[in-house]
Symmetry: C2
Subunit: 183 residues, 2 copies
Amino acid sequence: MPTKQDAATQTRQRLLEATVRVIHNQGAAALTLDQVAKEAGVSKGGLLHHFPSKESLIEAFLRHLFHQFEQCVYEYYQKEPPAAGRLLRAYIHASYADQPVPLDMAVVLFAQIAQHETLRRMLQEDQQMWHERLVNDGIPAPLATVIRQACDASWTERLLTDADDGPVTRQTIIDELLRLTRL
Amino acid sequence: MPTKQDAATQTRQRLLEATVRVIHNQGAAALTLDQVAKEAGVSKGGLLHHFPSKESLIEAFLRHLFHQFEQCVYEYYQKEPPAAGRLLRAYIHASYADQPVPLDMAVVLFAQIAQHETLRRMLQEDQQMWHERLVNDGIPAPLATVIRQACDASWTERLLTDADDGPVTRQTIIDELLRLTRL
DNA sequence: TAATTCCGACCGTCCAGACGGTATTAGGAG
DNA sequence: CTCCTAATACCGTCTGGACGGTCGGAATTA
């Protein structure tokens, strides 16, 4: 017997998923409250009940993405033998894997982040967090930083090149980055 | 005696400069046609006369930024002794210099690029151009790519951290990147 | 006269958020 | 168990404002 609370969190979930779907199917520009509500089979009022503003919707969505990414890094971390640079190598793999975060999303992030200070700070804090973790991974800090930056660039990179894999293929880059962690 | 054409190109110039100022002072979200026109001391109709759409304004603005950056790289290139990795090193310096491109701008780019296919392609082509030039600079392609990515990341990085220079200072990163070009 | 530059009021659209509802449920008092 | 009351979940219309772009003209120049 589903309680009232259950229904509520389930609706929230549906809204988050709808957000993803809207972006994925109709592009970042189509991300309006009406669209999301419609896609989720919820009225606009219902949406605003759970997320009192668009910003808060995006915020929840962002947190969702962060969590997914963290999860992905964790999985790779498990597979990696314990040694200096273990986390860094997991981070590399996760950054270039395509399951965790559908990259259409990056567009939205940047677009919304341009407008909302809050979101900017969120991203900043997340990045700061990773920075500190990666710098204390047994690899010299400057090198670790550079590697992280290269990984982060892969995000914005794929934002542009829909069908990537130019002359320097993705796997080549991963290999190169991994090599750098070992000297 | 100022001809009519002169006045026209001068107005175009004023509009471009106004664009920069609006972004810089009021943030990316405030980049509206009205604002730009007002800032430039030109009527909205005047603006639309020179740039028939917002997209075309941004496009011109982007081209302006590209040109500035290219110029900046060129300057560093001159100072660099001819050797393998010369261009790459100039690119590194230019990426981390703060004069060439006020970094507030990056936000706008991403925001607008999210919506306009044309702009996306422009950025893509520019990046592709640099990629090819940097890969043929006497440095192994994978390494060169990674270094370029780290440089590109510095853009989006500074986008977030207003007052950067965390534990790993900017100069440290530059040094590290330069070191990588030498082995 | 014809073209160019620029003006500024105006239009249509889009969209976030407000608001005034209804329905369902939780939970305590009797 | 039953009422009563509040809170919670959700609905859907409406609006106010912002913003990109149009249009009919005025002024200047070629």
